[in-house]
Amino acid sequence: MSPSPVAPVKGFAVTLRQIFKKPVTQEYPEYKRPVYPRFRGRHRLWRHENGLEKCVGCSLCAAACPADCIRVVPAENTPDNRVSAGERYARIYEINLSRCIFCGYCELACPFDAITLGNEFELSEYNRDDQIYTKDMLLAEPVKKVPVADPVLYDTPIPYYRTYS
């Protein structure tokens, strides 16, 4: 293809035209673009409505994790110390978020929907140790919330991994 005299002018027009368009920039710290509901962010452990933990310490999530970043140490529930709804509960439940690849296999693996991946992605830390999330942190409500796009439109009616149990 031979160079034509008009060709560079077209290029100049392209760059010039952009000045009069509104930039596509989304100014992040002030405006947070809603993530899609399927976006996999920070993990969350769930409780039943009666306060008991959903996790029964079966370690399926640990088995499913490709990065081996979940550690579950189960213990038996006793009548005076009932933590979970099942026979056992997770005495220690830790996720090393600095290893986690957020593939979501843990929530697929969990038969009780005890662990899900939320939508929070603001997880930077000054220290690597702070990224080891313990059970208390995972059970707690995340501090930094992010907006989520309409789940009705952008997700299947009942997400594949979330059912009622």
Partner: protein, 330 residues
């Protein structure tokens, strides 16, 4: 009555600061304008609209560790190189007129620091000295990329210097003077030289782009090829000086374009004086930025070929034809 020496010094001080501010806001303008051309905002956090961005850059660069690689044998040259570039870049501005001059009390104050009869030659001479800063700085850094960068600088800037000076020959012939003030006056009396000297303008602008190593001729510091070219090993404010001198060169060149081809401080209407000058300067600098946003970079040998085989003949013919016409119509 001519102005006394101390006014000149005050003027020099004012203008140096003005140029520095202009430099600072040229970088800001470049970043903003590039941003808008690329669908984004550009700096807007440091101060309103990012107006404090250059200040932040400056403070940061000053606070950055000043450093000299161990392998540098001649530390003096390493330090002096950016200073040479900076000094000459600033000095060249001394002859650029940005106003007609004013009557203040009982003195006539010129619109430039010095009205030298050979101003144009002075600008080119200073520019040529400034190149040494780049060349020497790259050479003394003792880094291969720096060396390649300064080799490129050397070849590119020397070759385009020729076309650059030949391109203004037409203007000089028509203006019948080497003094920038006279040339501006002449344009005001007759016509802006951009019209009769269109070819000269184009050659001047292109050669000037190359001379200031702006895109698409930014080979000496093409960072995707040579990491950072001649200033690879420079950091902090020394690097800042190189950068400053490059931008000031660009401003000087824009100012020269405005002076030589667009009648300096004269406007088509409304005698606004320096405002016209700055407006034209702004447009000229924006065009530089626009070029950067649009064009890919030339290759080294293509650059050389273009300089010697296209620009130089065109500039020569332009000068000869202008001379012939001027003689013929006299």
């Amino acid at each position: 009555m001519r102005e006394p020496w101390w006014i000149t010094i005050i003027k020099a001080f004012v203008i140096i600061n003005l140029v520095m501010v202009a430099f600072a806001y040229t970088t800001w303008l470049e970043r903003k304008l590039l941003g808008r051309m690329q669908n984004r905002y550009g700096p807007n956090r440091a101060g309103p609209k990012g107006l404090l961005q250059p200040i932040a850059d400056l403070v940061k660069l000053v606070r950055k560790e000043a450093f000299q690689p161990d392998s540098v044998e001649n530390g003096f040259v390493y330090i002096i190189a950016p200073i040479i570039s900076m000094f000459t870049a600033l000095a060249a501005f001394s002859v650029i007129p940005f106003g007609a001059g004013w009557h203040l009390w009982h003195w006539h104050i010129d619109g430039q620091i010095l009205n030298v009869p050979i101003a144009l030659i002075l600008v080119f001479a200073l520019g040529s000295i400034g190149i040494y800063g780049f060349i020497v700085g790259g050479w003394v850094s003792d880094s291969k990329f720096s060396l390649l960068g300064s080799m490129r600088t050397c070849a590119q800037l020397v070759s385009y210097e020729v076309s650059l000076s030949l391109a203004v020959l037409g203007v000089v012939i028509m203006g019948r003077s080497l003094s920038l003030v006279d040339i501006v006056h002449r344009q005001d009396e007759t016509i802006w030289f951009a019209a009769p000297q269109l070819v000269g303008l184009l050659v001047f602008f292109i050669a000037g782009t190359a001379e200031t190593s702006r895109a698409p001729f930014d080979l000496p510091e093409a960072d995707t090829e040579l990491v950072a070219g001649y200033h690879t090993e420079y950091s902090g404010m020394r690097w800042g000086l190189f950068q400053t001198s490059e931008y000031i060169n660009m401003i000087t060149l824009s100012a020269l374009t405005v002076t030589l081809f667009f009648a300096g401080w004269h406007g088509p209407w409304a005698p606004l004086g320096p405002l016209w000058f700055f407006l034209k300067l702004f447009i000229c600098v924006s065009i530089f930025i626009w070029l950067k946003a649009t064009l890919p970079r030339l290759r080294y040998d293509q650059l050389m070929r273009f300089g010697w085989k296209v620009l130089l003949p065109v500039a020569t013919v332009n000068a000869v034809v202008t001379a012939a016409l001027v003689v013929a119509f006299q």
